[in-house]
């Protein structure tokens, strides 16, 4: 049986304002879930909270992954357990090459599993990285560039997917990976994710729009509103949102939130 990420009645404040008001969601390895919702509904807050950003204050509930409440863990410990977040706004680390960074990340995990590990050898790492870049149709020169430093929007998102491909997590959260991309960039990024999907990867695709779901086909679609998941269904739900927009969600649930 694969790993399961279970979010139970999660409440989160940001700067003392309640943003998440009881989120429940179960994601299994091998499943693809889409989380949709209007702006400000709490989608990104959920992403950051799951990864452990210090600015997000959990006021209630728990998140169980591999039998552990990960809300107690540091972000690096969550990563070691097999959780991954593709950022909506990846952060630049000037002076640190993509390759150097990824190798350090791989070695950090190997070291944790075996304190005597000497780290991945340079030839082995180069082979791995080359393979992953080819898979994502990326120029090899990418490896030598400073991480997210001066990257275009599309390059940043592809760098995120390259990290996802290289670090091979069990559950990946993609936070608005489609935002700010033109249709070609979107297709390349989405096809990259699609290529990685499989029985060993569970994905939570957070998005405002349906279009990325043409490439990454979710089995489950959830709608978030006012800090709660208010609707869950199959792929049809995404199409319904695309046609009807979010107004009906607002009308149906705005009153309930009062």
């Amino acid at each position: 049986m694969g790993s399961v990420l279970e979010i139970r009645n999660l409440h989160v404040n940001v700067e003392d304002q309640p943003i998440l008001n009881g989120v429940n969601l179960i994601i299994k390895q091998g499943e693809i879930h889409a989380l949709m919702g209007p702006n400000g509904s709490g989608k990104s807050t959920l992403a950051y909270t799951l990864m452990g950003h210090p600015a997000y204050e959990v006021t209630g509930g728990e998140v169980i992954f591999k039998g552990e409440n990960i809300l107690e863990l540091e972000p690096d410990e969550r990563a070691h357990l097999g959780l991954f977040l593709a950022f909506q706004y990846p952060v630049a680390i000037p002076g640190v090459s993509v390759a150097n960074f990824l190798r350090t990340a791989i070695n950090a995990r190997r070291k944790l599993e075996d304190p005597n590990d000497k780290g991945i050898s340079i030839p082995e790492f180069r082979r791995l990285l080359t393979k992953k870049m080819d898979q994502l149709k990326m120029d090899h020169g990418f490896a030598g560039r400073y991480l997210n430093d001066g990257f275009s929007g599309g390059e940043k998102k592809r760098a995120e997917i390259l990290q996802l491909a290289t670090l091979e997590p069990e559950i990946a959260i993609l936070d608005e990976t489609d935002s700010g991309l033109d249709i070609d960039a979107l297709r390349i990024v989405a096809e990259g994710v699609d290529a990685l999907a499989g029985p060993n990867l569970g994905v939570l695709v957070i998005t405002h729009y349906q279009r990325i779901l043409n490439y990454i086909k979710p089995q489950f679609v959830h709608v978030m509103f006012d800090g709660r998941i208010v609707e869950s269904g199959g792929p049809d739900l995404a199409l319904q949102l695309e046609e009807a927009g979010y107004d009906w969600v607002r009308e149906k649930y705005a009153g309930a939130a009062q």
Binding site: S97, A99, R103, A108, K111
Partner: protein, 471 residues
């Protein structure tokens, strides 16, 4: 291309283990503590020096005594000049074969990796232990080409005419109190002479080691690069950790003639009980180039401002420096660029990192004399603060007496921000590793100027400094 700093993580030793060890003192000569005319005469006599050098030493002692302690820069009030050994000779011979170096001293340099580095990638090595150079060797083919690489004492003995022509002309004893002190009690250091047109491809390296308590090390280096010649000189330094303070006060003078090129790289890693007060200056003539690559990691206090005097058209000077100030450290470092002729150019890139209550200051002087028209200078100072308790200051002094010049100055102070740390930690790096990574990236423009072996060493030293001090 791919990650050189594989040793960066997983390093679990401390300075104490790697560099902080000390040997028992079985010295052939140890002058008594304190400084007076008798000590100076004794040093000169031990070395069998010519009369003019003794005179220069004695004159310098007077200048040292007459100059007040500097009150700007770092706090030097705790230095007790009477509580310092000014001259220690650990062995009475200098060897050119490591097997002949006394066993305990050889073991020290083995532990520091010097013989290994020499075999791998150096054109020549000098190893100074306390006051004297105990090992010196230069590739024979360089010798055949007329390149001279000696310790300064041997340089004076064997090439007195050259030494007398240049010694103290770039940094006279009147320059500052510590230059005067060095000139009075200097011992060891390097003498390098590169004949016209000779290019030394591999670096020459000097390694300076303090072993005894309350030691004062005062090496003196003179480098002369003749027309169209080039050299890369590298120095490293470490010391044991004692509660008592040691003093290191060196003087480095460099002359680069027309079309010559000199690169001087320092990886300063003294223990945190060493006062490091150093005067370094180069003069560059027509179309000559001087590069100071200056890394300051260790010491309790460092005051050091490598300078280039641009004397003739086409001369170019650069300082690329990093300073790392941790707990109890004050790095007051910077650069001086003096444009003395038209069409001269200079660049300063200074990066500092402060953490754990440390303090890093950039202190720089840019001087353009009247008549040095069409000169250009660019100064960039970037400071990185790792926590709220640490401090960074910038003191740029700019004196320009010429109108047709182009001068730029940029300064920035940044902090490792929460989002950078979160991003890196979300990929599995610990908070410490994430901090190290941001710092590694910050100093990358410096590190990439180093030969690869030193780049690896430097990244390793930074990781060592940061280890266990976060969280």
């Amino acid at each position: 291309m791919v990650a050189e700093n594989e040793q960066l993580y997983g390093l679990k030793s401390q300075y104490a283990e790697k560099y902080g060890f000390s040997d028992p003192e079985n010295y052939v000569f140890k002058a008594r503590k304190g400084l007076d005319e008798e000590i100076v005469r004794e040093i000169s006599w031990m070395k069998g020096e010519p009369e003019w050098m003794l005179d220069l030493r004695l004159r310098s002692l007077e200048i040292f005594r007459s100059k007040p302690m500097p009150t700007w820069g770092a706090d030097l009030s705790q230095i007790n000049f009477d509580d310092i050994y000014y001259y220690l000779r650990a062995t009475d011979r200098q060897e050119s074969n490591w097997d002949d170096v006394p066993e305990d001293i050889k073991r020290t340099f083995d532990r520091l990796g010097i013989p290994e580095a020499e075999q791998k990638f150096l054109a020549g090595v000098g190893a100074q232990y306390e006051s004297e150079v105990v090992y010196h060797k230069v590739h024979e083919d360089l010798e055949r080409q007329g390149v001279i690489f000696l310790d300064m004492d041997s340089g004076l003995r064997e090439h007195e005419d050259i030494v007398r022509e240049y010694f103290g002309t770039i940094i006279p004893p009147t320059d500052n109190k510590f230059a005067a002190l060095n000139t009075a009690v200097w011992s060891g250091g390097s003498f390098v002479y590169v004949p016209a047109g000779k290019h030394i491809e591999m670096p020459l390296q000097a390694y300076f080691r303090i072993n005894a308590r309350n030691m004062g090390q005062f090496e003196r280096t003179l480098i002369i690069v003749e027309e169209g010649a080039s050299v890369h000189y590298v120095e490293g330094c470490t010391a044991p950790i004692y509660s008592e303070e040691s003093l290191h006060s060196a003087v480095v003078e460099i002359i680069i003639k027309e079309g010559g090129n000199c690169r001087y790289t320092t990886i300063q890693n003294w223990a945190n009980n060493v006062y490091n007060l150093v005067t370094k200056r180069a003069v560059a003539y027509r179309d000559a180039q001087m590069y100071w690559v200056d890394g300051n990691l260790g010491s309790k206090v460092t005051m050091k401002y490598p300078s280039v005097y641009l004397m003739e058209p086409g001369a170019h000077g650069e300082v690329l420096s990093i300073a790392f100030a941790g707990k109890g450290q004050h790095q007051d470092a910077g650069a001086k660029m003096v444009h003395n002729a038209p069409h001269t150019t200079s660049q300063v890139i200074s990066k500092s990192i402060s953490m754990d209550g440390g303090r890093a200051s950039y202190r720089g002087l840019l001087k353009v004399y009247e008549g040095a028209h069409d000169s250009r200078s660019h100064v960039v100072c970037d400071a990185l603060l790792l926590d709220e308790r640490s401090r960074s200051d910038t003191y740029p002094y700019i004196e320009i007496n010429e109108e047709r010049v182009s001068v730029g100055h940029e300064a920035s102070v940044s902090k490792v921000n929460e989002d950078q740390l979160f991003y890196l930690m979300s990929r599995g790096l610990s908070e410490e590793e994430a901090n190290v990574m941001v710092v590694t990236g910050f100093i990358e423009p410096f590190v990439k100027e180093l030969p690869m072996e030193y780049a690896i060493e430097l990244n390793r030293l930074i990781a060592l400094q940061m280890e266990g001090s976060i969280g």
